[in-house]
């Protein structure tokens, strides 16, 4: 895949109407970079080989990030790694993705090419193939440049069982690296904050997750802290498993530039999205082994144990923060969208 994506200088409605222009768009903007034997047939559905042994896992995602191109990535790259990561979180090995685009009439060619190239790069890095795609074009004003919707298929190998049902009191909670980079980068773009050091952490985590399993650590559950951040995944997990999760604020790794964005805009770092991180619940005795395995991966250097799981009485809150100041407080989900506080 060393050829380039060439998208039309002016995207017309006709590029989405299924005729000659649609074929041109697909052949020149998408196939050169995404091309593989399945996609190249350009037929109604991809007929896949038999699945490897294990249980199939299927996920879907929609991507509407604004801006669509940001420091560290783009909507195309994000759409692929985001889907791959969802599969990895249930212990599945990702195999095949579908990739459907809704483009806005007049969307710049460069935007489309950047996203196509980004998606291709992510697919190659994650070792998956995009086997089916679709493109629609909506009138100007009815879309926001580019939206992507994906489905991802993978297989959970026999004998592997991860999920919140496996979490027990005593488990250690780990994060694979510093948090909030993606969310902070997007908010900085939106609010006129510049930085040479701020970039999205978006990345595929399948290899890191496999390394975690390969280490022999007893992995109970995995979640990627995307929308709503570490706060959302821990809050939801606490609810689902009926236990209490304690997070140690001082142990949670945050890059100084991310903290600076939070301080300037009045954001809670725990609620900011990460697009290349894993939160893992592992047996307490395996915390060290798990950390070593994760730190051995390129994007896992900043990994840390950030909390632990305890029993919870009936009706008690499921998520508690040991604050940096040395206090304790219950953590509830942030309601509504991120509103920068000013006063």
């Amino acid at each position: 895949m060393t050829t380039t994506s060439r998208a039309p200088a002016t995207l017309l409605l006709a590029h989405g109407s299924g005729g000659r222009l649609t074929r041109e768009l697909v052949r020149e903007a998408f196939l050169p970079v995404l091309g593989n034997p399945f996609l190249a047939t350009l037929t109604d559905a991809a007929v896949l080989p038999e699945l490897p042994p294990g249980r199939p896992a299927l996920t879907t995602d929609a991507f509407v990030v604004d801006p669509a191109v940001f420091p560290g990535g783009d909507l195309g790259y994000l759409s692929v790694v985001g889907t791959v990561n969802d599969l990895a979180m249930v212990g599945a090995r990702p195999l095949w993705l579908t990739w459907a685009l809704v483009l806005e009439e007049g969307a710049p060619g460069e935007l489309i090419s950047t996203c196509a190239t980004g998606a291709a790069r992510a697919a190659a890095e994650s070792g998956i193939a995009i086997v089916a795609g679709d493109t629609k074009v909506v009138p100007r004003g009815k879309g926001d440049g580019i939206y992507a919707v994906t489905a991802g298929l993978g297989v959970v190998p026999p004998g592997r069982d991860v999920g919140d049902h496996r979490i027990v009191a005593g488990d250690a909670v780990l994060v694979s690296g510093p948090i909030g980079d993606h969310g902070a980068t997007i908010m900085a773009c939106r609010h006129g904050l510049g930085s040479d050091d701020l970039r999205s952490d978006c990345a595929g985590e399948a290899a890191l997750v496999e390394a975690l399993f390969a280490s022999g650590a007893e992995v109970h559950s995995l979640h990627d802290p995307t929308r709503g951040g570490v706060l959302a995944v821990c809050h939801e997990t606490g609810e689902r498993c009926g236990l209490r999760i304690h997070l140690d604020e001082l142990a949670i790794p945050v890059r100084p530039q991310v903290r600076a964005v939070c301080d300037v805009l009045g954001l809670e770092v725990l609620s900011l999205a990460c697009e290349g991180r894993v939160v893992a619940w592992v047996a307490a005795r395996d915390a060290g082994r798990a950390l070593d395995a994760v730190r051995g991966q390129g994007d896992g250097e900043g990994a840390a144990v950030i909390g632990r799981v305890t029993e919870r009485g009936a009706g008690e809150v499921g998520l508690v923060l040991e604050t940096a100041a040395g206090g304790r407080r219950p953590l509830d989900l942030m309601s509504g969208s991120d509103l920068p506080r000013i006063c």
């Binding site: 900085a188 006129g192 904050l193 510049g194 930085s195 040479d196 050091d197 701020l198 100084p256 530039q257 903290r259 600076a260 964005v261 301080d263 300037v264 009045g266 506080r341 000013i342 006063c343």
Partner: protein, 75 residues
């Protein structure tokens, strides 16, 4: 009521300046602090510099905190 953050003034024009904190940069108005000097740490609120940090006082506060912290180390 008043989220304001100290940021360092790195360059300035007549009414505007560039400030930074841990590599994060922003353009702010200096209309409320026209005598701000490059290199000073300014308190930034709602896109405006509203006051300047007194470095001597800041140092004194840090020293006080260090002292308080040390009282917890010695049994």
């Amino acid at each position: 009521m008043c989220l304001a953050i100290p940021m360092r003034l790195t360059e300035r024009g007549e009414l505007e300046g560039a400030v930074e904190l841990d590599g994060v940069r922003r353009t702010v108005s200096l209309m409320l602090l026209p005598d701000a000097k490059v290199g000073q740490h300014l308190l930034i609120h709602a896109g405006y510099a509203i006051g300047a940090v007194d470095e001597a006082e800041a140092e004194a506060t840090l020293a006080l905190l260090r002292e308080l912290a040390d009282t917890m180390v010695d049994p």
